[in-house]
Symmetry: C4
Subunit: 229 residues, 4 copies
């Protein structure tokens, strides 16, 4: 352990807050400026991908830059973070995410907290979240093995793509899903629909972990390799 837990938790909360502020804020901005929904999604995608590269680069050395309970779960199961710290991470992520919603609303002159009325439900949406989270976690695990210093770019680019190729626009993050339930804007999700999203996200993450555990098991006999627990 190199940094004390309080600093790591502040980094997780800050990073998740900035991520959510970017997701929700850019959604509001885009939605206000155009009637074309594809253009609004583009105006939501580019800032999200860009801020992910930034946040993971600058906060990675502090906390590992999870910003995502599904990611923390996988690292916990792989014993790369201890259980107690993992639980604290998740709480920090959820709290930070909600703070991000408040910040976005404050900037755009909206009530600080709303409940979303955007229905996001159905088999297609759940498959999409499973696929989105599978891809995200597999990208992280395979990326850590292939080129660890590229993780910020890989995650930013993956989410940029997944916003468009998954039917759910790729939440892929339980803490962000919770935070987005409190915003009745472009990026919102009806609170009632959040639990199924979270289940699908965790299922996708575990599936990726299982596949990565087999597929990446025998890399080239390199001098150093991340432990696969």
């Amino acid at each position: 352990m190199t940094l004390d837990l309080p600093r790591r938790l502040v980094a997780e909360a800050l990073g998740t807050a900035m991520l959510v502020a970017a997701v929700i804020g850019s959604g509001i901005m885009a939605d206000r400026l155009t009637d074309d929904v594809a253009l609004a999604l583009l105006g939501n995608t580019i800032p999200t991908g860009a801020i992910l590269v930034v946040l993971i680069t600058i906060l990675g050395p502090v906390s590992g830059a999870h910003f995502n309970p599904a990611v923390t779960l996988v690292f916990g199961l792989r014993r790369e973070i201890e259980t107690k710290a993992a639980l604290a991470y998740v709480l920090a992520q959820i709290a930070g995410g909600i703070a991000g919603t408040l910040i976005a609303h404050a900037m755009f002159g909206l009530p600080l907290v709303e409940l979303s009325t955007t229905v996001r439900s159905g088999t297609g949406q759940w498959i999409a979240e499973l696929v989105a989270s599978f891809g995200l976690v597999f990208t992280i695990l395979a990326g850590l093995r292939a080129r660890p210093d590229s993780i910020p770019w890989l995650v930013g680019l993956y989410i940029t793509a997944a916003y468009w190729f998954t039917a759910s626009t790729s939440f892929a993050n339980p803490a962000v899903a919770v935070a987005r339930a409190f915003s009745n804007t472009f990026a919102g999700i009806r609170p009632l629909d959040v639990p199924a999203f979270i289940v699908a996200e965790l299922a996708g993450a575990l599936l990726a972990m299982a596949l990565a555990g087999w597929l990446l098991a025998e890399p080239k006999p390199l001098p150093q390799m991340r432990p696969t627990a």
Copy 2:
């Protein structure tokens, strides 16, 4: 060869599946959200380029990240992959590509398999596919010589450009062309039109291989190559 063939084949299938899911999925998403075809193509381009950077980076160390029979053919002819493995690669790519179509359709609530009715034929289209594949394979061969660790970015950026500058929107990949024949959506291609596309793609690939064989013939032994004369 460091990894066993089964793992390599799974990597080829998985990578091609995610690539096709991204191509077809983002095409469906974009097409549903806007009536502007240029915007739809942009919403198709950005995810495709982004996911290519990701997939080639993370799966490159496992299988070489071909995801494309034209690329595998060239490496086979250059004896950088043995014939038997090359044939298995191509089958894995085709199977993975079709799986990607199914996944995209499942997420967007479409019948799992359709036959495309989008006509893509004619001299201009065939020249475009030849140009697109020539450029792709030349980019890979010259990129491997100039800066191998940049291949993921080079391919992602090349395809990003080629979606726009070739009249065919740059399929440049026989396995992806087959997979797209099974989707009657934005990215689809009428099955009848696939064979000519594949012929043009392979011709472009071989042309690039020939040119690269001459142009890049004398690279390595020299400490620096910028013309300073």
Copy 3:
């Protein structure tokens, strides 16, 4: 300090001029070509982010590539630039910024100097500028610690995101704010509204400096910083 002050000041003026010319010029171009404001903002965002990567990369070795009085203030308080040089930097940035406005106007056939009539005021706007500047300065300080050679990309990507997720489109730069007051175009700001923007920007910068001072306090002496629990 390796370069003499005149060269450093020219670099600061040149960089800020090119930055402002890019911001204002692309705003004019985008605004003329479309009626969709989201598309205009996209046509303003991409050039701004791109030119920031370029300018910080090429002028960083000359002057540090601040181009921003809020950044110079923070480096001054951290004693990474001496007070006298810092004051000269700020003057060079303001002069360069105004020159950038003139250049943009000359290219687009507008009167060289105008006064903007675009109202940018109110609590949401000020919170947005505070958030934008906080994020920018925190990105720089944490980025310098995490991966100094990535600073050009981090700043370019951060501003790309912040154009969309902050309600003010992220001026985040007092010199640029002053320069934009002299352009009655897409990127303009009413002179009357500039002082409050500058106050918010400096407040955000100082807040980031304070947080970074604590959060990143114990970085270097440890061989690796990923939490491995």
Copy 4:
């Protein structure tokens, strides 16, 4: 001299051809797909920036990847390329550029050669070309000193920005200007207007060379530095 001149000339011709095919081809594609001119410019910008990164990366080790007589002129004056080779480079660039026009037209089913009727003239346009070329050459010279391996990205990003912030959409390249005169499409320029563009481009290039000669004269006393002739 490491590679023989014929290979270098083929690289210059090939690179310029692919660049022009990308510029003109994407212009045709974008213009056909949308009525929104800003969107068409975006569909022209992204492929141009992307292909520049690719071409400069892969052909840089062969020929230096000038693809631009203004750049070759500057390197000639700096004695980094001998006069005879420089003249051959310029001819190869012009021939390659025109070939690129033919290729784009063939793909899109247009007459192979047309004469553009698009008027691009007037003081603003000429100032814009001077600014565009100044920025391009300054980016290259300062980039070679600051981070030579980033040149492909710097040029790609610079042109991405300059397409929008210069009133002329930044031709910044005499060979490309000539090639674009033969295409009566989105990217075309009336032949009559080409000479003034070329004059402005060369003037901007020389101005950048002069400024760089002074501004970058005394870098940190680094062990190695590119000669400034």
